[in-house]
């Protein structure tokens, strides 16, 4: 499952934010997106995940191979950890949630309602959700926010296991995850301010 992006232009609120994004994500590799706040990392990930259309350029990937995890974890507060995971597994046609619970150390929290979890525990549940989707390409937006050092290590090793398994990952992050990965600095791909592709559209909406 490779993801090939050619000359992609993404916009945010009608203004072109990134232009000329090209890369190939091979099986078993990870690509780290870096750039200051507001440089377009989230916009790029949302475009690739299919949540917003690309202005220009092509994304070549099987849409059924991508699992996206944004800033919010999509956790229901009144459902337990296991119920939350079982729901997402069922949506993706999977049934195994025990491996993910084991990987992200959620065993003791299994039957606890998600509203009683701490921020870091919620994040771990959100990351475990990715693991139950069974999809090869993970798209992660700031996955380590509110994780402690131990959980970050746990996440990094889970990620490496996923890569070794033939999966791939696209990660927007500011921290060093402690393994070798290619880095794409999105701040260099900033669209020229006058190349506001959506400016006319916006005038008519």
């Amino acid at each position: 499952m490779t993801l090939t992006v050619t000359d992609l232009t993404c916009d945010r609120g009608g203004l072109a934010l990134l232009a000329g994004v090209s890369f190939t994500l091979e099986r078993g590799t990870a690509l780290i997106l870096r750039g200051p706040n507001g440089s377009g990392k989230t916009t790029l990930l949302r475009t690739l995940a299919g949540l917003q259309p690309a202005v220009e350029g092509t994304i070549e990937a099987d849409p059924d191979s991508i699992a996206y995890a944004g800033h919010a974890d999509g956790i229901k507060a009144t459902l337990s950890v296991a119920e939350n995971l079982a729901f997402w597994a069922a949506i993706y046609g999977q049934s195994d949630i025990d491996t993910a619970i084991e990987t992200f150390d959620l065993k003791d929290l299994r039957d606890r309602p998600a509203q009683n979890l701490s921020a870091g525990q919620k994040r771990r549940l959100g990351l475990a959700r990715l693991a139950v989707t069974g999809r090869p390409i993970w798209m992660l937006d700031e996955p380590t926010v509110s994780l402690d050092a131990e959980s970050t290590r746990r996440f990094a090793s889970a990620l490496q296991a996923h890569l070794a398994d033939g999966g791939s990952a696209l990660i927007a992050t500011h921290i060093d995850l402690g393994f070798d990965a290619e880095v794409l600095d999105v701040s260099r791909l900033r669209a020229a301010p006058d190349a506001a592709s959506g400016a006319f559209d916006e005038a008519f909406t």
Partner: protein, 218 residues
């Protein structure tokens, strides 16, 4: 799809899920009306079908903004949009879950509340049948409205303003069914027209709502 339906039903029954809210609201409206217009049974008998329908409609409106807003807040909606089930299916299941937790209880409780308003005996069957056929349209149209306003902060009021005019045909035919039922006239024509609205809404609105959601998710 089944998983989504079961999750939504489970969430509705858990604390803060809002199940029973619509029913309680419906009950209070039907209790308040006799206080307002006086206990004269012949007046109540005349206005009962209309009051019951308006009450059911307003009760249905109460929980509409929860359909997508909560999923949007906690990020589930983004994840559902990228999940392997079609967004049209998500919309249809959400509308079905809304109907099962709102429209169906209202339909079942309506005959009971009819007693409070001294509804004429032949009207009970037609009121229940009318609500059973009409409330799915209310849920479906409401889900469409919720999809339109999902990106807005405090979109609940705008949602009511958008949705209420769209409820008018269902209300007219629904109240007409109950009215004709109580006065022993043949109610099949308005009943068929209302069933037509429900069928049309169920067939077309999932697509419109999914398109609105896609725009709002950008």
């Amino acid at each position: 799809m089944t998983a989504l339906l079961l999750r939504d039903l489970r969430l509705a029954f858990r604390s803060g899920g809002g199940f029973g809210l619509a029913l309680a609201f419906f009950l209070i409206v039907t209790i308040l009306v006799p206080f307002g217009v006086g206990p004269d049974t012949s007046t109540l008998r005349i206005i009962a079908p209309g009051i019951l329908w308006v009450g059911a409609l307003l009760a249905c409106l109460l929980s509409l903004d929860r359909i997508f807003a909560i999923d949007r807040e906690d990020g589930s909606l983004d994840l559902l949009a990228t999940a392997p089930i079609p967004l049209e299916g998500v919309v249809a299941v959400k509308a079905l879950a809304h109907w099962l937790t709102t429209g169906l209880p209202l339909t079942l409780a309506a005959p009971l509340f009819g007693v409070l308003l001294n509804l004429a005996p032949p009207g009970y069957v037609w009121l229940t049948l009318g609500l059973a056929l009409g409330t799915p349209a209310l849920s479906m149209i409401g889900t469409f409205g919720a999809a339109l306003t999902v990106g807005l902060k405090r979109g609940g009021l705008l949602l009511s303003l958008l949705v209420l005019p769209l409820y008018v045909p269902t209300l007219i035919f629904g109240a007409e069914v109950a009215q004709r039922g109580t006065s022993n006239l043949d109610p099949t024509t308005p009943l068929a027209l209302m069933a037509g609205i429900t069928a049309g809404a169920t067939a077309l609105l999932p697509f419109a709502a999914a398109a609105a959601l896609r725009v709002n998710l950008r």
